[in-house]
Amino acid sequence: MERDKAQEEIEHPFLEFWHSFKRGRGACIGLAVVMIFIFLSLFAPLLAPHDPTEIFEGQLRLPPAPFADGVARFPLGTDSVGRDLLSRLLYGARVSMGIGLLVVVFSATVGTFLGLVAGHFGKGIETIIMRLMDIIMALPSVLLAIVVVSILGPGLFNATLAVSFISIPAFTRLVRAGVLEEKKKQYVLASASFGAGPWRQMFSNILPNCMAPLIVQASLTFSNGILDAAALGFLGLGARPPTAEWGTMLASARMFMETSPWGTALPGLCILAVVLGFNLFGDGLRDALDPRLKR
């Protein structure tokens, strides 16, 4: 009896997190939006009615189906060269989610590693790493990204690399701050007295204990990555046509925005929805994971 009760009171950490996460209305909306876009990008080939790069001659800039000139074959209409807009938007979700994922994986890996090294070893290494981060942060993000692209040359992958590069400092700073706080604690000292080496201390002991802010940052980096990569695409420095990338689609629909506004409106709405979803999700994560905010 007693034991059952005790077990009931101590929840699994994940369940505890989930109970506090689902109390936030915004967080749940965010999670739903994120799940929808993950679903759409995973199953884009099955859901898309046409190939995203297939050109239908004579079917230029059709409005979405419910409008007067709309055709049921093209549910959301066609773009300026006669490609199915719905299919392009679906594949665009794939591209954007891919960019977001790559940016997070790359910047979190590099940023976390640098932060661990800076926090754990301190001294000269720390100064060099943190100064480097200050330098990266002294430049406005999109400016730095276009400069990196000017070195690497335009393209989707290079744009992703550029955006990853500018996302590194946020992770490094968070991890370093976490390490400085954790390394004074008893469990780290105890582990050191058992002879744990620096790498074991950094990765197995300290890192898991400063994960919470990192998870939140990953969610925000995801949305910023999508936004910045779309901005580069819009400036003609990211994905190149005919790649179905939302920012690039916006740029090429811009010339016709007076006569066919949906070509401009829809890709932008998708960007807004994804970014908003991830930001809401991230805020929800922060509220649920940050012990200082817990009621």
Partner: protein, 336 residues
């Protein structure tokens, strides 16, 4: 105070040196031979090549090149644009007022709408107004502003015909440059019509650049006010029988604004990013459009110089923000 400033300067200088190193490395990181790039498509004879190499100082060892670069930069010489052959500094500062005007207007827009909105939302915590403001600021914060700009153009310029689509002022007006800010210069000239022309050109770009700062300011004002409203000194002020309005403005808001100084200062980066996108869309003749154009044209001296100037500005603005913060925050005074 002097000591505080010195300490700040001592961290700013290494960062500035790092930025100059980054800008210097930039041109050397570009694939291909910069000398051939400068000579252009036509190429040139071996003699011309050697001449250009000497002119660019590329025959010197790297450390000498770098020392030369920062030595020149310190005297305001950042080289010449490959496109126009004019000094980079001159080109930068001829375009800077346009971006400054836009940036200042965007900040004013964000502050004068964001702070009152945040204050009212905090006073009416959990009301419909509060939820609306918070919802809007969430959307604003996530806004792809290049799309937002196009939507505003469709709505206000194309459909309603209220605002022009590009440029800073109607081509008819010839404004003698005093401050470089058209709103000021037209007033100095006493030309009211030109003033309104400049204002109408400014409207949409200002809203576009100001949207994200507005969202951030509204949100921060609200949370900062909510925190302050529960403080003892606010309760004391109320207990003294002060009018609610005075309590809010002189006791709550004054203290709630302190953290906002940092937030507003940090928006500078967001404004440069906004300027890069917005100026390109509205053909605004400022720094942002110029940088994008230089990247497209691979005008490396301009990219190098522009990066250095903008980064220096960010560093100095951050320093100034920290200094103002220290000046106005009574808690910082005590700890010094």
């Amino acid at each position: 105070m002097g000591g505080f400033f010195l300490r700040q300067l001592s961290t700013a200088i290494p960062t500035l040196m790092g930025v100059s190193l980054l800008a210097f490395a930039l041109v050397r990181l570009v694939p291909g031979d910069p000398v051939l790039l400068m000579l252009g498509e036509r190429g040139g004879s071996e003699e011309q090549y050697a001449q250009m190499e000497k002119k660019l100082g590329l025959h010197l060892p790297l450390y000498r090149q770098y020392l030369g670069f920062i030595g020149n930069a310190a005297t305001g010489d950042l080289g010449k644009s490959t496109l126009t052959q004019r000094p980079v500094t001159e080109e930068f500062f001829s375009r800077f007022p346009a971006t400054l005007e836009l940036g200042l207007c965007a900040i004013l827009f964000a502050v004068f709408i964001g702070i009152p909105a945040g204050v009212v939302a905090a006073m009416k915590h959990h009301s419909a107004f509060d939820y609306t403001i918070m919802g809007l600021s969430l959307v604003g914060h996530s806004m792809p502003i290049f799309w937002w700009a196009l939507i505003l153009i469709i709505a206000f310029s194309v459909n309603l015909g209220l605002t022009p689509v590009s440029g800073r002022i109607h081509i008819l007006y010839d404004i003698p440059s005093v401050s470089g800010l058209f709103l000021v210069d037209t007033l100095l000239q006493g030309n009211i019509e030109a003033f309104f022309s400049a204002l109408r050109h400014l409207l949409l770009p200002t809203v576009v650049i100001g949207t994200i700062p507005l969202a951030v300011v509204a949100r921060m004002t609200r949370s900062s006010m909510l925190e302050v409203l529960h403080k003892d000194y606010v309760r004391t002020a109320r207990a003294k029988g002060l009018e609610e309005r005075n309590v809010l403005i002189f006791h709550a808001l004054r203290n709630a604004l302190i953290p906002l100084i940092t937030v507003i200062g940090l928006q500078f980066g967001s404004i440069i990013t906004g300027a890069i996108l917005t100026e390109t869309i509205f053909s605004w003749p400022g720094i942002g459009k110029w940088m994008v154009h230089s990247v497209e044209q691979r005008d490396y001296p301009v990219i190098q110089g522009g990066v250095l100037i903008i980064a220096s500005m960010v560093i100095f603005i951050n320093m100034a923000v920290d200094a103002i913060y220290a000046l106005v925050n009574p808690q910082m005074k005590r700890s010094r």
